[in-house]
Symmetry: D2
């Protein structure tokens, strides 16, 4: 309560809290009185405490999420990618199993994506990424091949056995994407597209949920809670950099988020150095740092010919660069006590 | 080009640019060589210049948007809200016409929304806001009444003549929301939900597009460009605060964005002090500041009984507060040379 | 306490708190136990509560500043600028008295600063700003004329009667600057230069304290507390924009800080639109917005010939622009119920 | 130039540039004309190009720093700490030599700092940190023992051979601190205290320059340039986290800054996980990530009894934690190809 709060204001609040069947703990201090509200989160949430007269500040003591929390589920969640496909080689992610997802920003053509798949497999990747539906800042940029792109991805899987990770942007496409993809990606800009989160929460496929550009760790966990609350527990989180004032790189990789998420949640978390940096330089170095920070996998943009990529060329590694990157990360994965197939 | 770039690298780039039918201007400096690319934006965009060897940095000289820009359409756009409804009193927004949109965060019941509509009309508001579909950070918070809520809003319009502003979150609901609403709102979290932007771009109703929490002015204009590029030019932009390190208020109102948007674009822009502050205190003061900054309207959360609001209670004004707020803003609207009915 | 905290951990903390002569309030919740510490701030501060085993989070309920707070001193502080100089026309700032400080970024020459002083006086300014010591990001930029610059400023005062506002950067120069200046400015980069704050706290002249680029409102008030705690109560605060991801202007003007500071503190606060924007365009507009937000004055960069300014040319207004700006702000000052001489 | 710029405006600018003895390159595009200015940085800086009529935007192509840049000095700088003291065991930092600086936030007493020194030496640290002058956000927090603290640090060095790293805040104390300390630290809040930077630039001791809370990589390098431009080339940079909206940790560690600084500059850079996180948890993990990112050393807060530390207790490691941390980082140092004595 504010120092100038009246006794009447205090009593009104205490009465309202008790009417909701909640307990109250009142602590009278030298300058301020603190009213503690005790009871289930859902009930407390219903009272707009800040709106009452005399209230100076409301502080939340409990966590607002449940199913994603370590307290709810102490063991780490392990997600198997490509588990139920006859033509995919399944791979585990989380709980000590480390994996690398790689590929181009967008699917450019049938031949191109097969070439990419072979390239990343040759270098050691475990799954293929590639966009059929592309979220682009400008409406005039290439928006992806849509369903045709999904078919091209499936063909690349058939050819290499690599499970497919691809973005879904439209709730109307979730079923379609789930049919072709092994992991449905929710992009950073859609992290709080709650309609989409609920829809993938009802699907059977694993979901890769990227952290929004200005999302806190708590926002990320609450977005995952949307998916889990609909029944889908196969969620992989992804740190991909946040927006700050720094201009030397596109985003600021927030590696502290990795151990923090792992302390608070049982869900696996991977790191995307390509979007965090926004350029090729230092991708291998940041990948090593991400592994040392404890991430359960990496997602890296790779293109056979970045200078002719349809999108995100500047941040794509070419084959020699990606191969060198994989070579550099191996001992870090080992040192972190994780296993990379 | 980087100082250490080779002549070969330079020539490769120049050749590639020319192959796309673009012109080149080379400027050899004391330390660095600068290659200028001249031609239509769409063509230039296709070459991933940062991906070429020897490139140190790529700077864009032209603007990435077209239809939203002042250069494309010098006159200010005026949006009429509630134009084609027999039961609504239409109101203009933009080009000197100032209007106030007010109402509760969410539609709570049929009686409640009618009460709210009467309250805000009595105080001088020109349109009613209220959420039937609510984007909530937590899946366990109240998610809105959906279609029932839309019907309640329509009934409140029938009763008061106030046009309706309400959020649409799901592309599958755009048609439905357009049927009931006079303005379809795109929330801050969906500012880059491109699927939804395209869908409202094909609808006939005006769109209220809120700036994302970490969106730049350019991102906001590009999001609007998505809507205009689909054919809907009735777009109202909205500044509602961005995310910064400051903890004294929920978001940081960025009032410099208002004259900046008006310099770059012909679209009207309104200000939302309720979400910018996240609490009642100072809403009237910030409203006056927004008007002095040049905004074309305000959107304010008002509730007859904020202490019992279903959501956002702490930032809702009650009737005496809202009435006082309207009283305070009137002379500022006049001073800004705008007309408020 | 964390949900998994042991009873022993709880008891250790309670014992430690009591040993310091403080009271304890324990509230056992459904999931967590909350320990309240009651007593004087100074005593509580000495116990590093977060360092104890079993502690999940420490939340501060009281405010960390005292002398700058409204609770300590309810009446607004009014600072008189130029009060004790025979050659200055004193002017009040705060408590309803509004004033405009204007002038070039740096003192360029004796003739130049006199020309500037006459210009800003002619347009209606009440005090002259101008840097003799310049904090520059690069060591190779012009660093100011030093003591010679101070003498030139004094000569401009003698000629026009305008009190002088100038920056002090070095604690060894405080006495010297106080001899010539009417207000000693602490720049944004020195807001937490505690050595300098203590030094100006022991001087007699008023201090203009600019908010740091990433300082919270609380940081700003604590920096002012340093000055007041040394005995100098004549402190004017200044909002000049914070650092965010937005690139359309140099800094992001945070106008919500103005009513917030006024709610928490009795000190006057002025607004600097020149540094907030970093360019001439929209300075008059933002000035009006700042006044509507409640600021007690403005500080604006003005130069007779911005294209030949020694520093900060791009954000300087020339005479016609400044004159128009003053014309535009007058009715806003009046509307805000303030008096501008 | 803006699309609407006149030919006259263009000619005025070109004329002004040429008058300064600089070259001009004009590139006429489809929508805009670009004027390139060619010549030495110092000359270009003198023309406030943004202030000229018709200018839309000014982009800098060259870097604003010189002595700190790789281009100026391609080989990595190696700083020897404690080189010229009879009672110190010198240690190298940079160019492959990795070292750990550890100790309490502040020097609490003579016995205490000797105990700390022995503790960190026993665990494997190479230098002792400890504050005699403490920059505290609040004037009421413990401000350090001053010169007495410096003497206590010197005694701890005499006892253990560990070189001393301690902060200097006041330009008047630089000589005194240089007498006792082996490395003079400039704290984050003083990164742009140019008076202090110049003063340590004239001293002989190595300087540890911490990145400001909202400083860009370029700001950090320019601050270092101040020191080098005065003659002192023994500068160690330090990443310690920046301010963002994230609330789960005190600051956001920006590990991308490490390889970026090393690409742009020859100066060594160390990492401070204690201030980046603001709490004990995850310090060892982030240390490993920092090493993987390429840092040349670590600076860690260690206290024999964090629960009774005079300041920063929550982020201090105790002996078992620090010992375990050193054990965890060793293989990462090796893997990074660096040598830790």
């Amino acid at each position: 309560m504010a120092p100038r709060a009246t006794e009447e204001e205090r009593d009104t609040i205490i009465k309202t809290i008790r009417e909701q069947g909640l307990d109250v703990n009142v602590s009278v201090g030298t300058e301020r009185t603190v009213i503690g509200v005790i009871g289930p989160e859902e009930k407390i949430r219903r009272i707009p405490l800040e709106a009452f007269g005399g209230v100076e500040n409301v502080m939340r003591v409990t966590k607002p999420y449940k199913r994603v929390s370590r307290e709810f589920h102490p063991e780490p969640t392990v997600v198997t990618i490509g588990a139920d496909r006859s033509d995919a080689t399944p791979v585990k992610l989380g709980g000590g199993a480390f994996c690398v997802i790689a590929g181009p920003c967008s699917v450019e053509s049938a031949e191109h994506i097969v070439e990419c798949a072979k390239l990343v497999k040759r270098c050691g990747a475990h799954a293929l990424r590639g966009g059929a539906y592309k979220p682009r800042t400008s409406p005039y940029s290439f928006q992806g091949h849509g369903e045709e792109g999904l078919k091209m991805l499936a063909a690349a899987r058939a050819e290499t056995g690599l499970p497919i990770v691809t973005e879904v942007m439209d709730p109307r496409n979730v079923e379609l994407v789930a049919e072709y993809a092994d992991v449905m990606q929710i992009g950073a800009r859609n992290m709080q597209n709650f309609t989409l989160l609920k829809e993938v929460g009802q699907a059977k496929r694993p979901v890769l949920l990227k952290r929004g550009m200005s999302a806190t760790v708590e926002d990320l966990l609450l977005a995952a809670e949307y998916i889990l609350s609909e029944g889908n527990t196969k969620v992989i989180l992804c740190e991909r950099g946040i927006r700050t004032f720094e201009k030397a790189y596109r985003n600021t990789a927030d590696l502290s988020a990795i151990p923090t998420v792992q302390e608070l949640s049982h869900l696996p978390i991977i790191f995307d150095p390509s979007h965090a940096l926004g350029r090729r330089r230092h991708i291998a170095t940041l990948s090593c740092a991400g592994i040392a920070a404890g991430c359960d996998g990496l997602i890296i943009e790779v293109h056979p010919d970045p200078e002719h990529a349809a999108s995100d060329g500047p941040q794509c590694l070419n084959e020699p660069e990606f191969s060198e990157c994989i070579g550099r990360i191996r001992p870090y994965v080992e040192l972190a006590g994780k296993v990379m197939r």
